[in-house]
């Protein structure tokens, strides 16, 4: 088997998938499997060069910069009370926002996947708004909504619920930017759900709640977790929408991303870099978890 089988297969039409699986009589190490299409060197060369120049080399700058730092100073920077307070806020608010979005995003996905009602298409399109609307615009819009004289603030503030310039405001902003993730992760799975399984569960005597909990939820769970993790990861690094509504009080409403910026403004490059490393390592760990979850979701979809 070699290139010539690919050609005979191509002649057969249907089964002409590239399938460049050479029967390795001798197991030779090959970087690239043979095929008929050209441009491998050019496209891969450009891809790797561009990736290195724009992403890999600049990102490694952060880690190299940290290595020039004194270890005790590094630890001191990333564990100072103000920084720790910002971790707590960033993690806590991101987690809570992702949790809120998991519940309501699931309902939105459910409604979009299963029901018909007027305005559904507009609603479906609108879900992606946080992806499309610049974060700064979202930030000032939310602030004006919840300010004491804003559309919502004028009713909430007299009740003693202050959103603007408090931690609650951070939560609101992070909920906004994380909204599409759960909906868009769960919606395709719910659409693909086979109605027959539900009917089978029902005919075997399960009530609606049992069918939901025992049949639907387990199928959707990996996608739901993926959506949660994506929203959480996005919220952790968020900057633009939060800084307007949070008021940025040290120890109280200061998020980690803002601390990096304020260190930079004081020309404390080492300090900014140290905090950035903590954030980067967290994000990369989350990325690994998300990848694993997505692989599981795909298995569910294919099964």
């Amino acid at each position: 088997m070699g290139t010539f089988t690919t050609e005979t297969r191509a002649g057969l039409g249907k089964d002409s998938r590239p399938a460049p699986v050479p029967a390795a009589r001798k197991r030779v190490f090959r970087f690239k499997e043979p095929g008929v299409l050209p441009g491998f060197g050019l496209s891969l060369g450009f891809t790797i060069t561009y990736l290195s120049l724009i992403v890999l080399i600049p990102l490694s700058a952060i880690f190299l910069k940290t290595m020039t730092m004194n270890w005790s100073r590094f630890v001191q920077t990333i564990t100072s009370p103000r920084v720790v307070a910002s971790y707590k806020l960033s993690f806590g608010a991101s987690f809570a926002a992702a949790a809120i979005n998991s519940v309501f995003g699931f309902i939105v996905a459910w409604v979009l996947a299963r029901y018909r009602f007027p305005g559904k298409r507009i609603m479906d399109a609108l879900v992606d708004l946080p992806f499309a609307l610049p974060t700064a615009v979202a930030g000032i819009a939310l602030t004006s909504l919840y300010a004491p004289n804003g559309w919502l603030g004028r009713y909430l503030v007299p009740l003693g619920i202050e959103v603007a310039f408090t931690r609650l405001g951070v939560l609101v902003a992070l909920t906004f930017i994380g909204l599409p993730f759960v909906v868009r992760s769960v919606q395709p799975i719910l659409e693909d759900l086979d109605g027959e399984i539900e009917e089978a569960a029902a005919s075997l005597g399960a009530n609606s709640w049992q069918t939901f909990r025992r049949v639907i939820l387990p199928t959707v769970l990996p996608a739901l977790l993926t959506g949660f993790a994506l929203a959480f990861a996005r919220a952790l690094g968020e900057y633009g929408s939060v800084i307007f509504i949070s008021g940025n009080m040290p120890m109280k409403t200061e998020i980690t991303a803002l601390l990096i910026v304020s260190k930079l403004e004081q020309y404390d490059f080492a300090g900014a870099t140290a905090i950035a490393v903590v954030m980067l390592v967290t994000s990369f760990a989350l990325l690994l978890i998300i990848n694993a979850l997505q692989a599981r979701t795909r298995r569910f979809q294919e099964a």
């Binding site: 191509a10 002409s16 590239p18 460049p20 690239k32 008929v36 299409l37 441009g39 491998f40 496209s43 891969l44 891809t47 790797i48 561009y50 990736l51 724009i54 992403v55 600049p58 990102l59 700058a61 952060i62 910069k65 309902i107 939105v108 459910w110 979009l112 299963r114 029901y115 609603m123 609108l126 879900v127 708004l129 499309a132 609307l133 610049p134 974060t135 700064a136 615009v137 979202a138 000032i140 819009a141 004006s144 559309w151 609101v172 906004f176 659409e191 539900e198 609606s208 990861a233 690094g237 968020e238 900057y239 633009g240 991303a257 990096i260 930079l264 020309y267 950035a276 980067l280 990848n291």
Partner: protein
């Protein structure tokens, strides 16, 4: 309403009452978090009437911010488009060692906080950075200048086109290109006559998402820009400056321009999705 074969007639799981409650909850949630903020942008922008709106959009600073935003978006989208095509071609048309790693690395910028995306370029090209001294000697400014803004925008929108193209080209397979090659078409002819027409919707989709993000990027650009009015302000940064000066009407007027872009983006995105769906139905 398009008849979606997957959305079957009502299923027996929940009562009509429960359905109405769920739809109401969903509507309320989206209204609270999406509709109200969007509406408030326009309400605030037009609070003092059309004339004030036009005046605040038509200032030299606003125009230069718009120009810089368009420039950065244009460069970033073009570069990432070329990259997306090359990466998708390499990844979906060949099998080679390390492909999965490469795919993961392409997504990396999505996991990086916007602020850190700006920070890395300050560390590299800033006055105290690695290349800072050399750049300063040669009088080249990258950080706190236009090149830095363009670079940060490219970084932040890096994976957008590639992410759309890779799954699409993977699913489409390479039979048609192989057939063209076997029939004697050259490499570029195959690409321009077979591949490009096939992937045009997916490509456009990626470009739309990429431009929307490029125009709206705030955190990364904010860190590298230095906020020099009329020089290194993009539209989102200009919004911030006006807002911090308590010039709310002007801030929301500039924000409303970005919101219009966002709405157009959403509409275009949905149109392409429906187009591809109905096209896929016929095939």
């Amino acid at each position: 309403m398009i008849a979606n074969p997957k959305t079957r007639a009502p299923r027996g799981l929940e009562s009509v009452y429960a359905r109405c409650v769920l739809v109401l909850i969903a509507l309320l949630y989206l209204t609270l978090f999406l509709v109200l903020p969007l509406a408030s942008v326009f309400a605030e922008a037009f609070e003092k009437g059309w004339q004030t709106y036009l005046d605040s959009v038509h200032t030299p600073d606003a125009l230069s911010a718009i120009r810089l935003t368009l420039l950065a978006t244009g460069v970033a989208v073009t570069m990432n488009l070329l990259f997306g095509l090359a990466a998708a071609w390499a990844i979906t048309r060949f099998s080679f060692k390390g492909k999965n790693l490469l795919t993961t690395l392409i997504d990396l910028p999505l996991a990086v906080s916007p602020v850190i995306s700006g920070l890395i370029f300050v560390l590299l090209f800033g006055l105290h950075g690695w290349c800072g001294r050399w750049l300063d000697d040669h009088d080249i400014r990258i950080v706190f200048a236009v090149p830095g803004i363009v670079l940060a925008t490219i970084f932040v929108t890096f994976p957008f086109v590639a992410r759309e193209l890779i799954p699409f080209m993977q699913a489409r397979g390479s039979e048609e290109e192989e057939a063209a090659r076997v029939l004697g078409a050259g490499g570029w002819t195959t690409f321009f006559r077979i591949t490009l027409p096939n992937i045009r919707w997916s490509l456009l989709y990626g470009v739309i998402l990429c431009s929307a993000r490029a125009m709206g990027e705030f955190g990364a650009v904010s860190v590298v820009s230095g906020h020099i009015r009329g020089e290194t302000n993009t539209l989102p940064l200009y919004v911030e400056i006006l807002y911090n000066e308590y010039n709310f009407t002007a801030a929301f007027a500039a924000a409303s321009l970005l919101s219009v872009v966002a709405i157009v983006t959403l509409a275009a995105k949905k149109l392409i999705e429906w187009k591809v769906e109905s096209g896929g139905g016929q095939a």
